[in-house]
């Protein structure tokens, strides 16, 4: 018994210490009660929110002989003041203007909750912790003198920008609506598309400091329960100060945290996300960012586009193959060129060889150096284009096109052909946006291998990358599915797209049982149920 007591003490003191550090002075214990006296509430909140100029505290006194004392606390600008006045302050004043304090205080609280406040979104806060959390989340808190409870009234003002077309994911056909920074707007956009109570939205908060709202979204009955559970577990394990973007979560929950290849997908498009949910994937919404995560994310998804399903299947298939080609070209082309020019002269047709040799004549760099320089120059331009203010964009493109394209060739620093190769490589890499970053780095590996060992080097690296891809998993699902392991029924939506009326079964690979656990947990052999 004695030992246990000591242990408890240490644990408590630890927790206290931790909280002190985490909350920077404003120490609020988990179970600190709400003081009954309204003056005490005022004092305590004033203490917690000292130095917060946007914290508002309004006292309401009404009833005969000013016998009823209440107060409203909220963050200025976060709540819709008009709604607060119409729905809360005015009804309260009207209702209690002539009331006499004869009932038990309890009745006031009940009356307030049940018939006075004109707002459907009412919750209760039972301790200071909840009070503070709700205030900082943008709710208005109503305190009644003599009560150790407070009413949480949802009068949050709609924040942020309007729903608009996403800049990053453009499609010819399909919905123009993209997600915004507001979590509720985003979940509504999905609910609008999938009108079904089976669409589950589980909310939770992450980030010790930011208290960011995170929402796990899936369709019960379609999504694999094990994957949903896995997502829940991995999210719960996140211990961090801040979640400012879904990118934070992505890094925490990725299966292979060092891999260049994305194992968590993201999208800004509502119709795309709805499609993913209907395939049995799990979405993770994060307040404050329009990028919604989807898991599991498989390699094949990087060459899928929402247009594929809205268009004729033949065109869609052609586009898929084209994207795959672009992926290969953007990875391999510079390396191939270096290997051809440096090692494998015999496979170049005679006339092409003359052109190649003529364009290389007088260039002081080796093809490898030349390729690295040109690719670096291009990546610099691209990065500059992203970072700099929009109005300067045009001057940059002029500098890029003239200096890189024309002048470097005229000055004899790079060959015409290299400019063309870098251009083709760049265009191809933009065809498959999810893999741009992976491609960018792997390209250099291919280049180096080609410079040392020619085609042999390229094929070695290719095999290595392929092995890595086949080993990767996303939430227990093999990354290269449906090719490896081969899932015949899922091939309908891989390199070949069958018409939508022929896609009668849902992706089978996502429904498999016995999926692998979290990253680092021992791998289990996945057996496909057919």
């Amino acid at each position: 018994m004695g030992d246990e007591g000591v242990f408890e003490k240490i644990k408590n003191s630890n927790r206290a210490a931790k909280q002190n550090i985490n909350s920077d002075g404003a120490c609020i214990d988990e179970n600190e009660p709400i003081p009954q006296a309204i003056e005490a509430v005022k004092a305590r909140l004033g203490e917690i929110f000292s130095g917060c100029s946007d914290f508002m505290y309004r006292e309401i006194v009404c009833g005969e002989n000013n016998c009823i004392k209440m107060s409203v606390a909220y963050i200025n600008g976060f709540v819709d003041k008009r709604v607060l006045n119409q729905d809360v302050v005015r009804p309260v004043l009207d209702y209690f203007s002539n009331a006499i304090l004869q009932d038990k205080r309890n009745r006031i609280y009940e009356q307030l909750k049940e018939c006075v406040v004109n707002n459907s979104d009412i919750k209760e806060a039972e301790n200071m912790r909840q009070v503070v959390d709700n205030i900082v989340s943008g709710e208005a808190l109503l305190f009644i003198d003599g009560e150790d409870r407070a009413l949480v009234i949802g009068v949050k003002a709609p924040q942020g920008r309007q729903v608009s077309e996403p800049d990053t994911e453009v499609s010819i056909r399909g919905a123009r609506e993209g997600f915004v920074e507001n979590l509720l707007t985003n979940t509504t956009l999905i609910r609008k598309r999938i009108k079904n109570p089976n669409l589950k939205l589980e909310i939770m908060q992450l980030g010790e400091q930011t208290k960011t709202d995170i929402c796990i979204c899936y369709i019960k009955g379609i999504a694999n329960e094990e994957i949903v559970k896995e997502v829940r577990d991995r999210l719960k394990k996140i211990k961090t100060d801040a979640i400012l973007d879904s990118g934070y979560i992505e890094q925490f929950i990725s299966d292979s945290r060092l891999s260049l290849f994305p194992t968590v997908g993201n999208s800004e498009k509502c119709d795309k996300l709805a499609g993913k949910l209907l395939e049995g994937r799990v979405a993770i919404f994060c307040d404050g960012t329009p990028y919604v995560l989807t898991v599991p994310y498989l390699y094949i998804e990087s060459i899928q586009a929402s247009d594929d399903y809205y268009d004729h299947a033949f065109f869609a298939t052609f586009m898929r193959l084209l994207r795959l080609l672009a992926l290969l070209v953007s990875n391999l082309l510079p390396g191939m060129y270096v290997a051809l020019v440096g090692f494998h002269h015999t496979v170049i047709p005679f006339k092409l060889m003359i052109t190649l040799a003529a364009s290389r004549q007088g260039i002081p760099f080796s093809p490898f150096t030349e390729a690295v320089l040109m690719i670096l120059a291009f990546e610099l331009l691209r990065e500059a284009g992203v970072r700099m203010p929009r109005p300067i964009g045009q001057s940059l493109s002029i500098v890029g096109a003239l200096v890189l394209g024309e002048a470097s060739v005229a000055a004899g620093i790079s060959s015409n052909l290299m400019v063309i190769i870098v251009a083709i490589t760049a265009v191809c890499s933009f065809v498959v946006p999810p893999l741009i970053r992976a491609t960018m780095l792997i390209r250099f590996v291919f280049l180096a291998a080609a410079n040392f060992l020619g085609f042999f080097g390229i094929s070695s690296v290719f095999v290595a990358v392929f092995i890595h891809l086949c080993r990767l998993r996303s939430f227990g699902i093999p990354y290269m599915a449906p090719f490896s392991p081969l899932t015949a029924s899922d091939l309908k939506d891989s390199l070949v797209v069958v018409p939508i009326w022929a896609m009668v079964t849902r992706p089978r690979i996502l429904r498999q049982e016995n999926v692998k656990g979290a990253a680092g947990v021992k791998r289990q052999e996945v057996r496909l149920k057919r």
């Binding site: 090692f343 015999t346 040799a357 290389r360 004549q361």
Partner: protein
């Protein structure tokens, strides 16, 4: 658990370092930049009186080609010549090619060779010895190199010509050889075919013939007949065509036949040839050549109409006779003058009578020369062109 993980990481790190070192230590194995090689477009090989080999190379200058192709020379600089030709003698072809580096700046790259020209002197002495190098060398592209024998001119002089038709003389020579597709008057031998024929004792090699025509042109016509790797003699263009008809290598050609009035040029559009050996009592008794061909009337100088079936039948007969005559001429040359089985009758014997072949293999050319040859030509005339007869004023 943690300890094991660390060990694993160390192992991976060591492996990574080792493989990096391995990569770096190799240097750039067999790495050669395109700008560091001399692209050889044509090779000429001849044997000198003292037994040495004289190798001539024609090397292309890509930058000069590029500027002539795009029509803009680099301003101010005198126009660079698109090719240069260098010769060097050595004990062997390889020796000569390597020794040549004393007068040539960059290493010679043979993978781009388009033509190999064998000198007459070399051919008379035998080509098997020098062909060894081309089979052994890994850079050679057997199936793109045209082999030709130079007649009355050394390969060196031939490769030095400067034609206006193509900046690279080698390409010009190659293209004239390619024209055999519509002419059938020169035998086109790719290096791979020559190598195959060298290893086939049942068929003797025939290589196209090239000669100089004036200062700037070559004439690629006729063929050289070899016997056991040595030049036995020449076939004139018509004899060459006879040979090509017999072996079924004619793609298209013009055969002129006499008519009642004027001449008729028949355009052969399809032709198949087949040789066979008839055995009687275990001995070869008769050699047969069967040719089936299809032709159009290409040009008719006479004024008659060619619309009745009888006219066409007569045309077919005359054409058949004409082709037969050419084949007969070739057969006579091969049997009587050169004693060389260029048609590949020996291959047929080898195929269907292997036991007998073993006995006669060595003296087959003599056996071949003594056997009677039966030639059958089946000519068919299908069309007379757009018109049946000439347009006349009186109508």
């Amino acid at each position: 658990m943690k300890c094991r993980k660390d060990k694993y990481a160390v192992k991976i790190a060591i492996l990574a370092v080792l493989s990096t070192v391995l990569l770096l230590l190799t240097g750039c194995w067999s790495y050669r930049d395109l700008t560091e090689i001399n692209m050889v477009t044509a090779l000429g090989v001849d044997r000198l009186e003292d037994g040495k080999v004289l190798v001539t190379v024609q090397v292309v200058e890509p930058a000069a080609i590029q500027s002539t192709a795009s029509g803009k020379g680099k301003g101010g600089v005198t126009q660079q010549k698109p090719v240069f030709v260098e010769s060097y003698e050595g004990e062997t072809v390889f020796d000569a090619l390597t020794s040549m580096l004393s007068i040539v700046d960059k290493k010679l790259f043979l993978g781009t060779a388009q033509v190999l020209i064998l000198g007459e002197g070399l051919s008379k002495n035998g080509i098997n010895e020098v062909m060894d190098f081309f089979q052994r060398n890994h850079e050679m592209e057997y199936d793109t190199v045209d082999v030709l024998v130079a007649k009355d001119v050394t390969p060196k002089d031939l490769l030095k010509i400067e034609t206006d038709m193509d900046p690279i003389p080698a390409m010009y020579i190659k293209k004239t050889a390619e024209n055999t597709v519509s002419r059938a008057k020169v035998k086109r031998t790719m290096m791979i075919d020559l190598i195959k024929e060298m290893g086939n004792s049942g068929r003797q090699a025939v290589i196209g013939q090239v000669a100089k025509e004036g200062e700037k042109e070559v004439r690629t016509e006729g063929a050289a007949v070899f016997r056991d790797g040595k030049l036995a003699g020449w076939l004139d263009p018509y004899a060459t065509r006879g040979y090509l008809f017999a072996t079924g290598e004619v793609k298209s050609t013009i055969v002129n036949i006499p008519a009642d009035s004027g001449k008729i040029s028949m355009e052969v559009i399809r032709s198949k040839g087949k040789v066979n050996v008839v055995f009687r009592n275990g001995e070869p008794a008769l050699l047969t050549i069967q040719v089936v061909l299809e032709a159009n009337v290409g040009e008719y100088e006479g004024e008659r109409k060619l619309d009745s079936p009888d006219d066409l039948h007569r045309l077919e007969e005359t054409l058949g006779e004409e082709v037969k005559k050419e084949i007969r001429m070739t057969v006579n040359l091969a049997q009587k003058d050169y004693s060389s089985d260029i048609f590949g009758f020996g291959t047929q014997v080898h195929k269907y009578h292997p036991q007998y072949w073993k006995k006669v293999k060595d003296g087959w050319n003599d056996t071949f020369s003594k056997l009677p040859v039966d030639i059958k030509v089946d000519a068919r005339v299908t069309r007379t062109g757009f018109i049946k007869g000439q347009i006349k004023k009186d109508g």
